[in-house]
């Protein structure tokens, strides 16, 4: 299948804000030190030039199809349909198999595209951060393919947890820098990568989600929406119409926005995002920015919804490193605030149980992040409880990196 062209259907202002006209809330912007202004300008100008450059886009699309393998299937899941109550009660559940990409998650699509942009603009080196090391690995592979140097910033705690993808990144030649600031997780890793961007004018920063200063959120969802554009066509071909619901997990919100973006103006398709409730929302130990009552704040170059602790950013907590983030992407926060996206949560324990269910009943080893959405989706689909519905769940990653963590869970629960 050819990649359908990109259409801008939810543009930000020229300063990179999405504005809720009713509440006057603004999401996005460029809240950065003056030192970063020239770099961001270079990236922004280059991005708009590149997406209008037919040769660049044709090459990029070809490489996304061949090298990343973006043409992954959408298929009916008889097991999940049955588990949710059967076709007569809930309709049908379909899976989008983004786990089948090269490097096994959605991250390679925007990672490869952004690295290709960096090369197009003449940068020699990439700076990025990672939580679950899915982004780290995706960028490492892209940099190897494109001949770029790479520094990956990772929270010291995450580096310990996800050994396989860290090793794979190192095998690709990435330089891995452990960050020991504050929570030693994704948030300080991203702050560290942005700091490095301020000290190395010849390196380009690549973000792992739809977050950060303008134009990053716009760039990641524009490039990443390849996933949604293909999905929309596949689903139409397979089912004959658009899905009634789309469910995705939301850490920063990139996999959610990348699959849902082409449906933003599709009225009959409801869009759901699932956050990690960690040990439970009530315990305060969670990674649910919206579910946990996040407020407007300014961090990492953007204005968005944030979990706050007084004037500072609160710690998030979840066993899924990819969801361990106290904020969400700017466009995601906007879409939530205008009511286009509905938010749900699932706990760490529910996700781990779902991981085992998927391994035993469906035969798939899913990224732990994807298990939050599968759990919450089944629950919500039961609640909707209408036949003739077509539900789509985004299986955004494969679970190899979580094997050690899950073996421990299995042993404990024997």
């Amino acid at each position: 299948m050819k990649i359908p062209p990109f259409k801008e259907i939810n543009p930000p202002t020229k300063d990179g804000f999405w504005i809720n006209k009713k509440t006057k809330e603004r999401f996005g912007g460029q809240y950065i030190s003056p030192l970063l202004v020239p770099n961001l300008k270079r990236v922004e100008k280059g991005f708009f030039k590149a997406i209008k450059d037919k040769k660049f886009m044709r090459e990029l699309n070809e490489e996304l199809l061949s090298f990343i393998g973006v043409n992954t299937p959408v298929h009916f899941s008889p097991e999940l349909t049955k588990l949710a109550g059967g076709e007569k009660k809930i309709g049908k559940i379909y899976l989008k198999r983004t786990d089948l990409h090269t490097n096994h998650s959605h991250k390679p699509v925007s990672a490869y595209s952004c690295c290709k942009l960096a090369k197009y603009l003449g940068f020699k080196k990439i700076l990025t951060e990672t939580g679950a090391f899915q982004n780290g690995r995706a960028v490492a592979s892209a940099c190897a393919a494109l001949g770029l140097d790479l520094d990956i910033y990772v929270g010291a705690n995450d580096a310990k947890k996800l050994a396989i993808n860290k090793d794979i990144s190192a095998l690709h030649g990435a330089n891995i820098i452990e960050v020991h600031d504050s929570t030693k997780s994704l948030l300080p890793a991203m702050a560290a990568a942005l700091r490095a961007f301020q000290s190395e004018p010849d390196s380009m920063y690549v973000v792992g989600s739809v977050a950060g200063p303008h134009p990053y959120p716009l760039m990641v969802r524009t490039f990443g929406s390849v996933i949604g554009r293909i999905t929309k066509k596949q689903f139409k071909n397979l089912v004959g119409k658009d899905p009634s619901t789309i469910f995705s997990v939301c850490g920063g919100g990139s996999n959610m926005l990348c699959i849902s973006y082409p449906y933003l103006k599709t009225k009959n398709t409801k869009i759901y995002a699932v956050e990690s409730a960690g040990k439970g929302l009530k315990t305060g130990k969670h990674g649910a920015t919206i579910g946990g009552g996040g407020k407007i704040g300014i961090l990492l170059g953007m204005q968005s919804k944030v979990l706050l602790d007084g004037e500072n950013i609160a710690e998030s907590f979840t066993e899924a490193s990819g969801l361990d983030f106290s904020s969400i992407g700017t466009e995601v926060a906007f879409l939530q605030s205008v009511g286009r996206i509905k938010f749900l949560t699932a706990t760490d324990l529910e996700a781990k149980k779902t991981f085992m269910m998927m391994a035993r009943k469906v035969g798939l080893i899913c990224a732990i992040e994807a298990c939050y959405v599968i759990h919450a989706a089944i629950k919500e689909i039961r609640k909707i409880g209408k036949p003739k519905q077509n539900h789509l769940i985004h299986l955004c990653g494969a679970g190899e990196p979580n094997v050690a963590q899950m073996m421990e869970h299995m042993k404990k629960n024997k």
Binding site: P38, R195, I298, L299, I313
Partner: protein
């Protein structure tokens, strides 16, 4: 005219330069920090007090550690205002006070409330590192602060283009333009004198009057002296904060820690060409 305006104007008339010391407020805790700042008023014409933000994106590790110490000791915006107020009352100092922070703490505290508190306490200037020239928050702050004759200070660096420098001069009200001598984080490198010369020249193309002060990487009295040849003011930050950390590690507290830090600040300040 604002107090900062006056200070720079008088200095120019008398061919003198201004020494500016930065320290993180509440580092290592409220009590010791207050003593440090009280002592610093003796050798600094301007004190920049940093208000910590735990997700800062432009601070060097030295400042980040200071942020952690301050936050862990319970420091916040309100307490910084209280601390500066007490210092001013107890020392009756002439030293100007400038607040340096990030936008999140200000926004959460409330933009209007922040402006009013600055006015009430007698803050002379404000630097917000990640406030952007075309963000709505910046407009509210500039207008609100200049109505109260409080300076708004903008930072520029060698990689910024002329357009940006012009706009920064325009938005820099009743205060000085903060020039960073290199591209990078506070205190991560040594001051680059060539850049200082070039930057001052570039600014002078667009404004003959605006005072310029240079920071980032000024760590020794001789560097202070060198920089003061070209700039109206010299800012020392990381090396002072480093001294606080050093004293703290030696378990110095209160007045003892303050003396330890301020004797170093005094040495730095003597680098200013008299």
């Amino acid at each position: 005219m604002s107090k900062l305006n006056n200070l720079f104007k008088e200095a120019k008339k008398n061919k003198k330069k201004i020494f500016i010391g930065f320290v993180t407020s509440g580092d290592p805790n409220y009590k010791s920090s207050k003593e440090i700042i009280k002592e610093m008023t003796k050798s600094c014409q301007i004190i920049e007090a940093g208000i910590s933000f735990n997700t800062s994106t432009s601070d060097s590790p030295i400042i980040m550690e200071a942020n952690d110490r301050a936050i862990n000791s319970g420091m916040n915006m309100n307490k910084t205002f209280k601390l500066i107020r007490e210092v001013k009352r107890e020392t009756k100092t002439n030293t100007c006070f400038v607040i340096m922070t990030y936008l999140n703490p200000v926004k959460i505290f409330g933009l209007k409330k922040f402006i009013n508190q600055c006015n009430f306490v007698g803050i002379d200037g404000v630097i917000i590192v990640d406030s952007n020239l075309n963000s709505p928050e910046e407009k509210i702050l500039i207008n609100g602060l200049s109505k109260k004759k409080i300076g708004y200070i903008k930072i520029i660096s060698p990689t910024n283009d002329d357009e940006f420098i012009k706009l920064s001069i325009k938005n820099c009200r009743d205060s000085w333009l903060y020039i960073t001598s290199y591209f990078g984080l506070t205190g991560s490198k040594n001051v680059n004198i060539d850049n200082v010369k070039k930057m001052v020249k570039r600014v002078r193309n667009y404004s003959k009057e605006i005072p310029v002060a240079v920071g980032f990487g000024v760590k020794t009295p001789s560097q202070v002296k060198q920089v003061s040849k070209y700039a109206d003011g010299v800012i020392c930050g990381s090396s002072i904060v480093n001294k606080v950390a050093e004293g703290h590690k030696k378990r110095l507290k209160g007045k003892k820690l303050a003396t330890f830090v301020s004797s170093y600040v005094k040495k730095l300040s003597r680098g200013i060409k008299k």
